[in-house]
């Protein structure tokens, strides 16, 4: 038999590949523990209950946006409009509460999701129909949506007084000490993570990002799938806007500014390949948690907040370099297994 790898060594190589990939989530876990341990050493209150609650709450919206962003990036696209969608959705939901104070709270979420879904649908449509790179489409959407937001806001702002207290509760309520916000996002992460492994259509997202030409030849409805990814990303960003309002209860026209890059950074740090094809929802969520933890750690150590972004950038570089190194290593180990078992 030629050129065929015998089962065991190949399995071993794969297992090693798998272990390395899992090591990515492990690696983020270890980094998290390290950051928390070191910070606690210098500031004992960092591990207090309220501080941990703050860590989880602060990461929640980023992790939620990260779920949608992961779907999009896995298809070899990117959604840069999420930050603007958060701002628009938060203001629209808040404004609706101002005009209809008696509106049931659940409608606040529905409206937020709808606002995001519209933007996501437009992004998806333009990207798939015109074939303009999504980087350009969503960069334009970033500014257009922010512009629409500024027009609607028109210099005003939403104050805590006009947001129903029941809605605000969601932003700070704790279930047995665990922030409700975090629980909501954890549920979304769990569902999305499971779905990405278990359904044909979600596997097709990976296929599209892994080899777009082959995906077309395999009969995968590439356009429909990519559109759906943008729709989900937009909708989750809309939900994120509603949660933003619940958490802060104050919104002007700058809400969510710059979130898109933090989210992309979190997703990439979490092991989602920037050119698509691989990565997990859990990894992306952990990436968001790590970035947020580092930010808060720097804050509690009285490091100038200006360092936050530099650290996020450095971490991004480390993550991408690590990815590159990892994929080279995996490729080499898979190749050498093969070479060793060629008998021609």
């Amino acid at each position: 038999m030629t050129a065929v790898i015998s089962k065991k060594p190949a399995g071993a190589a794969m297992a090693r590949g798998g272990a390395l990939l899992r090591a990515r989530e492990m690696g983020i876990g270890i980094a998290l523990v390290l950051v928390i341990a070191l910070t606690t050493l210098f500031n004992h209150s960092f591990l207090s209950a309220s501080s941990v609650q703050q860590l989880l709450t602060g990461a929640s919206i980023f992790a939620l946006l990260g779920v949608g962003e992961t779907l999009v990036i896995i298809t070899r696209n990117v959604d840069l409009s999420v930050g603007s969608v958060v701002g628009l959705s938060a203001y629209v939901v808040g404004n609706t509460f101002v005009n209809h104070p008696q509106m049931p709270i659940i409608f606040g979420f529905v409206i937020g999701i709808l606002v995001g879904a519209v933007v996501g649908a437009v992004n998806g449509l333009i990207t798939t129909v015109t074939k303009v790179p999504s980087l350009v489409v969503t960069l334009a959407a970033l500014y257009i949506v922010r512009g629409i937001d500024a027009l609607i806001v028109n210099g005003k702002r939403i104050d805590p007084g006009s947001v129903p207290s029941g809605f605000q509760t969601i932003g700070y309520y704790n279930v047995f000490g665990v922030p409700l916000l975090f629980i909501i996002v954890a549920v979304v992460v769990a569902i999305a993570g499971y779905a990405m492994r278990s359904f044909r259509s979600s596997r097709e997202l990976y296929a599209i990002g892994s080899n777009p030409d082959a995906a077309g030849l395999a009969g995968i409805p590439t356009g429909r799938r990519v559109f759906t990814a943008f729709l989900v990303s937009g909708s989750l960003a809309g939900l994120g806007g509603a949660l933003f309002l619940a958490e802060y209860a104050t919104v002007d026209s700058t809400g969510g500014t710059g979130y898109e890059f933090l989210v992309v950074a979190a997703v990439v740090v979490g092991g989602v390949a920037i050119f698509g094809g691989s990565g997990t929802i859990l990894g992306a969520a952990l990436g968001a948690l790590l970035l947020n933890t580092i930010n808060q750690s720097l804050g509690s150590l009285k490091v100038s907040p200006f360092w936050n972004q530099a650290v996020a950038g450095a971490l991004l570089l480390v993550a991408i370099a690590f990815d590159r190194w990892l994929s080279l290593r995996v490729a080499r180990s898979l190749k050498s297994e093969q070479g060793a078992h060629r008998d021609v």
Binding site: T2, A3, A10, G17, G216, I220
Partner: protein, 500 residues
Amino acid sequence: MEPLLVLDHATKSFGPVRALENGSVTLYPGEAHALLGENGAGKSTLVKILAGVHRQDSGDLTIAGELVNFSGPAASKAAGVSIIYQEPTLFPDLTVAENIFMGRQPLRGGRRIDRGAMNKAATAVFSRLGVDLDPERLAKGLSVADQQIVEIAKALSLDAKVLVMDEPTAALTQVEVQRLFDVMKTLRSQGAAVMFISHRLEEVFASCQRVTIMRDGNFVSTAPIEDLTIDDIIRSMVGRNLESLFPKTITEPGKVVLEVEHLTSAGVFTDISFQVRRGEIVALAGLVGAGRSEVARAIFGIDPYDSGVVTINGKVLHRNAPRESMAAGIALVPEDRRQQGLVMDLSIDQNVALASLSRLSKGGLISRSSERNLALDWAQRLQLRYGKMRNPVATLSGGNQQKVVLGKWLARNPSLLIIDEPTRGIDVGTKAEVHRILDGLVAEGMAILMISSELPEVLGMADRVLVIREGRLSANMSRAEADEDSVMRAATLQSTESIV
């Protein structure tokens, strides 16, 4: 017997270009049918119509007696047509099993993918094929042969009624080709039809029962294999005498221009030594992936190498110094002209002038008129067919694009021309013109190192044939010694008589 698949007088145009004028083929259950023709004969277009990638402008496609009209690749798949493309179409980030079952993974409750069942089914297909491949490994890092096996497994698991294989053997070793033939036999015995596209005619004779020949987008003939000889087939494919496709003037080679001694790059190629003289074409033959292009890139200085010496006109070249190589008189026309040879959005004259800018510029400014004059000169000498010099080079046909790349390098007046796949994807007519140009250059005293995967081109144009097999020089033959058999043997087998 009722035919499985009939394509009748299909036509297909892309803009003004008529890729297929009369695509006709009939496949019967249980037969292996060869589709033959030169590059540009319309085979790929025909295959893509069967695949549902393109839709024919006119003409009927009938499968199992029913008229079909494919809306896309999924529809073709559903109708039982399975295609194995020349380039594997796998998803590197997914497992082998997922690659096989993408879009039709076995499901369990709640429409969730049943990974256990999927891996088991993949293993079952592999055992039918008699191979032992781990279904859970990633497709990333598979050898080309193993990728091909995954593609075949895909087709097999689909229970394809019609299996189309577009040059599946180009990168396979002899043993692997044999196994592929066994698979074809199994499929045929189950009543499937196999359409086989290959440039290796001996494989066609070994495995197929009927042959359809195409030329310039047209159906030429269909005949049982036993009624044909290799000469008949070539004559029908080319439509004229071979001599006119490969004009060759035998000249006396002069002094050594390029000398390569013991060139080695770990894991890529090993101990490569040869010479190229003035006035001769030396062909580097071998299978795709054997390391030929890598040797050329190392000589030119694009890729580094570990040991060995490259001498041009008596001057030893440093490693990894393409500027020095250019200054010393080497020109490299790369294999992939769209990616590496041309700037597609620039105009024709700008592309021609691109490698000669330092000569054309005065005080750092490029004179448009000198650019234009240079291009006009070369366009005339190479018989370039173009609209306006100011048009983007992307508007030219493949063959004329290749002439632009040639002109760009020839404008530097090199003493050694390295040309990688000079006529890939070029229609037959222009192909002969490119060959005539190469022949003329050699007659004027240039030395040419030509990499080619097309055996007729190697045999027709080369004064000497070097064969590389898995990174090693496996043969160095004179024009007289080289024939189809000896070159293929050196390219695929461990030959005892090979001259190293």
